[in-house]
């Protein structure tokens, strides 16, 4: 059986939305993960509490319910209606960011205490120690688990079909209804999602290789 290339054009719009949500969600997830992960380690108890509450709430409830909440409940409660694509980016960013925060926190904590002591003995303050000594070492530890989380995020983008977005999955469902070529359509979806996650893995591997030699505190010159 030849690959059903002829199905691709009808899936393109959906694929584009899936990519936008996955990319936007990833950027947000990394930002939230860093903020909340560092927040957990703050000296300020209020910052620590805010970070913990965020992490527990978004890890402790399902992404689907979070989507419903932001898309259907917020307009009723606050009169705030957000675009469905935007809700998808925001919720997946917040959701995966909460898991990512734990990755950030534990990577930072696993940098040996001696590193921090050596930096302190050289008169570096907390911020300089974090920026130049701890984070560069921690980021290498974060990359593999972050790769997993971004793949998780990619797969979760299919949930946005439940809040009216015609993403790749929903486009596939429509296409199956139109063509009745069930096996081929779903085979195509599998193939596309799988290729995307392979790409994420490749990018993370590349990053890891790039960061693990020639790391420098002044950025690369």
């Amino acid at each position: 059986m030849p690959p059903p290339i002829d199905l691709l054009p009808s899936l393109m719009d959906g694929l584009r939305r899936t990519l936008v949500i996955a990319a936007g969600g990833s950027v947000l997830a990394i930002a939230f993960a860093l903020l909340a992960g560092l927040g957990c380690l703050s000296r300020d108890p209020i910052v620590r509490t805010v970070a913990r509450v965020y992490i527990e709430v978004f890890r402790g409830t399902s992404a689907l319910v979070q989507l419903f909440w932001f898309y259907f409940a917020l307009p009723i409660l606050l009169g705030l209606r957000l675009d469905a694509m935007l809700v998808g980016v925001l919720v997946l960013g917040l959701n995966i960011g909460a898991y990512g925060a734990e990755v950030v926190r534990s990577a930072i904590e696993s940098v040996p205490a001696g590193q921090v002591q050596a930096a302190a003995a050289l008169s570096m303050n907390r911020w300089q120690t974090m920026r130049y000594i701890v984070l560069p070492q921690a980021i290498l530890l974060m990359l593999p688990p972050f790769g997993n989380l971004l793949i998780e995020l990619l797969k979760s983008t299919a949930l946005v079909s439940m809040i009216t977005v015609t993403d790749l999955t929903r486009a596939g469902l429509f296409l199956r209804d139109d063509t009745l070529r069930t096996a081929e359509v779903f085979g195509m979806l599998l193939l596309i999602y799988f290729s995307l996650s392979l790409m994420i893995t490749a990018v993370m591997r590349g990053l890891e290789r790039w960061l693990s030699h020639g790391q420098d505190y002044g950025g690369r010159q």
Binding site: P112, G114, Q115, Q117, A118, A119, A120, A121, L122, S123, M124, N125, Q128, Y132, I133, P136, Q137, L140, Q215, D216, Y217, G218
Partner: protein
């Protein structure tokens, strides 16, 4: 020697607890600028704890520490032990350098960057000036050819020599050495001791050296302190401590380490 100058290091009645472990029990001592002091004593007696307190890596429960006439920890009239303000602490810390038993080099930075990092980041020294100084220090510790190596590519002795150069790059007036040869293979001890000997020739450099190498302590120090159970049991000139210790505990300790 100018006796009217305040001691570079003045410690009074220092106490430190870890939970219900009383680690430092009323420690007092003075160090004059330029003095080379060896601290010997059984493990667990609080030697590292003292150095960590001096480096402000930890806080004492009570007592006073002055560095070069500036109070780092002091006692209020109400009897509370308080730290100096953050900016004073920063100035004081800059006068102290520390070398650790396990090196603690930054594994993600080259040897050169390990040395130039703090001068550039903390003191704002220009990159080329910092690199020039690092080059001199690497020359001094005999590792000029390793500037672009990463710590993982070095032997233990080389790592420790880089760690010494890294501390010196901040121009401290007091250097604290915490058993800097204890983690090394025996054949690498000598090269690190040579660097310490060389440093000891600098008249202005104050050195506080915790060591288990009695022969080395005797040779390098002009003053020896014997620590046991969180206090200084006995101190004096190396000849006196090693040849004619007054205290039983000192005698027993020396007997034990020399037998080994």
């Amino acid at each position: 020697m100018n006796e009217s100058r305040p001691p570079i290091l003045r410690i009074r009645d220092l106490h430190k607890w870890y939970d219900d472990l009383h680690i430092l029990r009323g420690l007092s001592c003075d160090l004059r600028a330029g003095e080379k002091v060896a601290i010997i004593g059984p493990s667990g007696s609080g030697k590292s704890t003292l150095l960590r307190l001096l480096m402000t890596l930890e806080s004492p429960d009570s007592g006073e520490i002055e560095v070069d006439g500036q109070a780092m920890w002091s006692t209020t009239p109400a009897g509370r032990t308080v730290a100096a303000g953050e900016d004073v602490l920063r100035r004081i810390r800059a006068k102290l350098g520390m070398v650790f038993q396990h090196f603690h080099l930054f594994p993600h930075l080259t040897v050169l960057r390990n040395i130039t990092a703090a001068p550039q980041i903390v003191k704002g020294i220009a990159r080329d000036a910092a690199e020039r100084r690092a080059g001199e220090l690497l020359e001094m510790v005999g590792l000029a050819d390793k500037a672009n190596a990463y710590p993982a590519q070095l032997s233990g002795g080389q790592k420790q020599r880089v760690a010494i150069a890294r501390a010196l790059a901040m121009d401290p007036s007091v250097m604290l050495f915490d058993e800097v040869t204890s983690a090394l293979d025996p054949e690498l001890v000598g090269e690190v001791q040579d660097v310490l000997r060389q440093l000891a020739h600098q008249a202005a450099m104050t050195m506080l050296i915790v060591t288990h190498e009695m022969q080395f302590a005797r040779e390098i120090a002009d003053h020896v302190m014997f620590f046991d159970a969180g206090t200084i049991v006995e101190q004096g000139a190396p000849e006196q401590i090693f040849s004619a210790p007054k205290e039983d505990r000192t005698r027993e300790f020396l007997q034990r380490v020399i037998d080994r």
